[in-house]
């Protein structure tokens, strides 16, 4: 196979040509005849009873077609938006799930919650009509702060308090007893700041209904269109799956926020049949701030016990996780199974106990955002390890090394329910230390001091778990869906290959990476392989893209399907070469037996024009596979951040960042570098700039780019990224996943560098100039 396009080659992304020449097909680019526009009515209150809604004036606007409210969707029997993961409290009881109607019916519970939809001939008319809808609200006292929510009066009628669940993992008694006898205990209070996703393309939906066939079609910004269809069919009950096609065309970034099934596309699809016309809705940036699911928002108290030699004896974490006003699609799983299970980090801590209180507040729902639980876990582990090193006078690198799981320890079972299959954490750390010139840090620090700058260095040796699996275990733990992926490889009669995957690409470059995988496996030219994704009408099934699972799970499904192609092709070739299949080998795109050779293309043609063909074999050369992983994959790495803090202004400049990651085998190193760069920029945003803030009344005060600070090019250094490789032991490609690592490891490294520079552990994310300046000024 050509090394220029096969596995390991830095092939330029074929999709980029259309993206950078303005030929992408995003949802808002699509238009259909008879299309109307939808505008949502959104609550200005964090918590209020909905009174009368009068649309009389609105419907007088020229071009206004309809105004729907929650009463209409409820009367029509539209189901609630479900949460896909049933978490149980430690007493065995089910989580307290508040009903989540697509449009609020009697009460609104966060600012921006939709309570109505206005449909009109044009966007201008829809906006004008929306202005004229008169809604009465009776304002109620909202619950906003994460830490106080559990004790506050319940925001949902019918729930006894605001605690959705009280979850735990690990052995509490053993952990407490180890802490009680530890030579040293480090204690730390940590806040993981609320983030607002801000994908470049805002969410959008274009829904059509064909009265002749009774078919619905929804084109929307989704990371997993099959899940969207499943939920809209089975739970919201818009239409059965065979009458509902969901297409996620080009999607401009998701970072998790487009996994979820939201109110807007749900209501627009339902309403398209009511008005008998297609409806398009595209979120304004202001709406995205209010109504996209937010990320993070944890408050944690952690304790780490060490023995006299510095070995970790126990880790305990008490976390309150803000779930927002409703349980979003996977909101319940993020601060539990995606968080608590990662608290062993890279270390042999023998006793770990974690307790998570998931709480309701009158804020936007919180769900998975790039890393989803794992950045929060890494922040706890890597901050407290760094603090412990400082408190006990140890070098933070040596303390980590002392406690790290060794290469010989794998497979390693943690006290928090995971079995790490493979890794070499020391190798990544060594490489990172070299690239960061750790030995030269003291000189750089001294040089900074001469310029009125305090320099700090911080480490983060993170681990993550990707490709959630296996299905059976996850479903036992409450998951509402399987965690496999589907793939289909269709060799066309003339030998080109169409690949169908249930993964979805919204910036990750699957159209290139997956084509590399299949062309390498089948020995066909890269340009002869086309990847199809994001369409329930073309792809059999899929669970979409999240949790850095696409290559490890979706790519593995394509390998399985390709192997079936080779197996069938071998039988066809054996028949054509008048030999037994056992005598036929498949090498570099050809079936070979002795001195006979048939290309895959020739065999494909024979399968569709079966003149000389095995009598017991069906024609055609197209194979499907579902791949269900036997375990998670465990990417891990070492991140080192170096910062300079300006003593006069408190400005933190991230001056160097080294990331050495072990993603297993790498298909396309250029794409992997890009994924890491993006993740690191988002991690730097969380550590230094971004903060979603609600005021005491539940108003979002960081609702635009004036107040919510996104990282820009001059906020980040030239990242130094490199890799080490221990192949995943249980998937055919030996891959682990690289999509989230940058955002998982980096916040802890950056804050460890800031706290190192300032000589205090008391710095919260984001480390804004104001906060740092106050700290420097002793205020």
């Amino acid at each position: 196979m050509s090394t220029e396009t096969g596995i390991g080659a830095a092939v330029k992304r074929r999709e980029d040509l259309r993206f950078i020449t303005g030929r992408g097909n995003y949802t808002d680019d699509l238009n259909v005849p008879g299309q109307t526009c939808g505008v949502f009515l959104r609550s200005p209150y964090a918590r209020a009873k909905i009174g009368a809604i009068d649309a009389t004036d609105a419907l007088q606007v020229e071009g206004a077609l309809a105004v729907f409210t929650g009463r209409d969707t409820a009367t029509d029997g539209l189901g609630d938006l479900p949460c896909g993961w049933l978490v149980k409290s430690k007493d065995g009881s089910d989580m307290a799930a508040a009903p989540h109607p697509p449009l609020a019916v009697s009460q609104v519970n966060y600012v921006g919650e939709p309570y109505g939809l206005v449909v009109a001939e044009s966007l201008a008319a829809a906006r004008e009509a929306a202005e004229l809808v008169a809604a009465d609200f009776e304002e109620l006292t909202p619950v906003v702060a994460t830490a106080e929510a559990a004790e506050a009066s319940p925001i949902h009628e019918g729930l006894k308090d605001n605690l959705a669940y009280d979850w735990e993992l690990g052995d509490e008694a053993a952990t407490d007893s180890a802490l009680a006898t530890a030579a040293h205990v480090t204690r730390l209070d940590l806040t993981n700041n609320r983030l607002i996703p801000n994908a470049m393309e805002p969410r959008a939906a274009l829904a059509t209904f064909d009265p002749a066939s009774g078919n619905y079609e929804l084109r929307t910004t989704s990371q997993n269109p099959h899940l969207e269809r499943l939920v809209l069919s089975a739970f919201v009950r818009i239409a059965p799956e065979h009458k509902l096609r969901v297409v996620a065309p080009d999607v401009g970034g998701g970072f998790g926020s487009k996994i979820f099934v939201y109110a807007e596309e749900t209501v627009v699809t339902w309403a398209a049949a009511k008005v008998g016309r297609p409806i398009k809705w595209t979120a304004e940036r202001s709406e995205a701030f209010l109504a996209d699911a937010h990320g993070r928002d944890h408050v944690t108290h952690a304790e780490l016990g060490l023995d006299g030699a510095g070995r970790f004896t126990a880790l305990k974490a008490r976390t309150t996780a803000n779930l927002g006003a409703y349980l979003s699609t996977f909101g319940s799983a993020v601060p539990t199974y995606l968080y608590g299970t990662l608290l062993a980090g890279q270390y042999k801590t023998p006793n770990i106990h974690v307790q998570t209180h998931g709480v309701y507040t009158n804020t936007a729902p919180v769900d998975a955002y790039r890393g989803a639980g794992r950045p929060e876990a890494t922040f706890v582990v890597e901050r407290i390890v760094e603090a412990a090193a400082r408190e006990t006078g140890r070098d933070p690198v040596e303390l980590r090394r002392l406690n790290m799981i060794e290469p010989d320890d794998f497979p390693y079972e943690t006290p928090v329910a995971l079995v790490y299959d493979t890794g070499n954490y020391q190798a990544s750390l060594d490489k990172a230390l070299h690239l960061a010139d750790y030995a030269g840090f003291k000189q750089r620090r001294a040089a900074s001091e001469t310029r009125g700058k305090r320099r700090g260095i911080g480490f983060s040796c993170y681990i993550e778990a990707c490709g959630l699996a296996p299905s059976q275990l996850a479903i036992q733990l409450g998951a509402g869906v399987g965690l496999y992926e589907s793939g289909e490889v269709r060799v066309n009669p003339t030998g080109s290959v169409t690949v169908f995957t249930g993964s979805h690409s919204h910036g990750q470059g699957h159209e290139t990476t997956f084509a590399q995988v299949v062309s390498d496996k089948l020995g066909v030219p890269f340009d002869d392989v086309e990847v199809v994704h994001g369409d329930t009408g073309r792809v059999e099934f899929g669970l979409g893209t999240y949790g850095s699972r696409s290559l490890a799970v979706g790519g593995s499904a394509l390998i399985s399907a390709s192997e079936k192609i080779i197996a069938k092709g071998t039988r066809i070739a054996a028949h054509m070469m008048q030999t037994e299949p056992t005598n036929v080998a498949f090498e570099e795109g050809a079936f070979i037996s002795g001195n006979q050779r048939l290309t895959l293309q020739e065999v494909a043609f024979a399968s569709y024009v079966p003149a000389d063909y095995p009598p017991d074999l069906e024609p055609g050369l197209s194979e499907k596979a579902f791949y269900d992983p036997e375990n998670f994959t465990y990417p891990a790495g070492a991140h080192i951040a170096e910062v300079e803090v300006d003593e006069a202004t408190g400005v933190v400049q991230l001056v160097n960042f080294v990331a050495v990651d072990d993603f297993g085998h790498i298909i396309n190193p250029m794409i992997v570098d890009g994924q890491v760069h993006g993740g690191l920029a988002q991690g730097a945003g969380q550590a230094l700039l971004e903060h979603g803030i609600y005021d005491a009344n539940g108003q979002l005060t960081t609702g635009s780019y004036m107040d919510y600070c996104m990282p820009r090019a001059d906020d980040v250094p030239d990242f130094v990224v490199d890799t080490t490789v221990t192949p995943c032991t249980h998937n055919p490609l030996g891959v682990k996943g690289c999509g989230e690592a940058g955002a998982i490891g980096s916040p802890a490294a950056i804050i460890n560098a800031v706290t190192d520079a300032l000589g205090t552990e008391d710095i919260a994310m984001p480390a804004t100039p104001e906060q740092v300046w106050r700290k420097l000024s002793g205020l």
Partner: protein, 158 residues
């Protein structure tokens, strides 16, 4: 949002007090005021076109007077509704003190909050917008009541 201030108005207290209860004067002094209606002795309804940063809307304003101590002080409850633009709620304490030469010192303090788009986009602009509205109001009131200003106006009818 909280702010306070004081203005010296060059007429006697009883005149100032009357003006602060007169819908015609109030309508003249609130910039962007499109209508002002007295619903009861202590209640007014107004329509005001205003702008806070990028948020521009016509607001329905309900004013209720409480703790009325003529001619010294009252508390003004303000409720502002801007539909898609959001809402505002506030309390303004207004006190009049007799000052030298028959003038009146007006002191006020306002505490309020906003919601919806006003809070989302206008949060950091709301203080300056409120300050400007208050300044405009008092300079307009000043002008409306100042006999010198009146004379100037009649002398220069242009």
């Amino acid at each position: 949002m909280e702010q306070s201030g004081e203005h010296l108005i060059p007429v006697e207290r009883a005149t100032v007090w009357r003006s602060l209860n007169d819908p015609v004067v109030l309508a003249r002094c609130i910039s962007g005021c499109q209508s002002m209606e007295q619903l009861a002795d202590d209640r007014f309804a107004a329509t005001v076109k205003a702008r806070v940063g990028p948020v521009r809307a016509t607001f329905e304003v309900a004013l209720t007077l409480t703790d009325i101590h003529p001619p010294e002080s009252y508390v003004l409850q303000v409720e502002v509704k801007g539909k898609a633009a959001g809402f505002g709620k506030g309390l303004a304490e207004v006190a009049l003190a007799e000052a030298e030469d028959g003038t009146t010192l007006l002191r006020y303090s306002v505490a309020g909050r906003v919601g919806g788009k006003l809070a989302q986009i206008g949060a950091r602009l709301i203080d300056s917008a409120a300050r400007k509205m208050a300044d405009d109001f008092f300079s307009a009131l000043h002008e409306a009541l100042d006999p010198a200003a009146d004379r100037q106006q009649s002398a220069n009818p242009s």
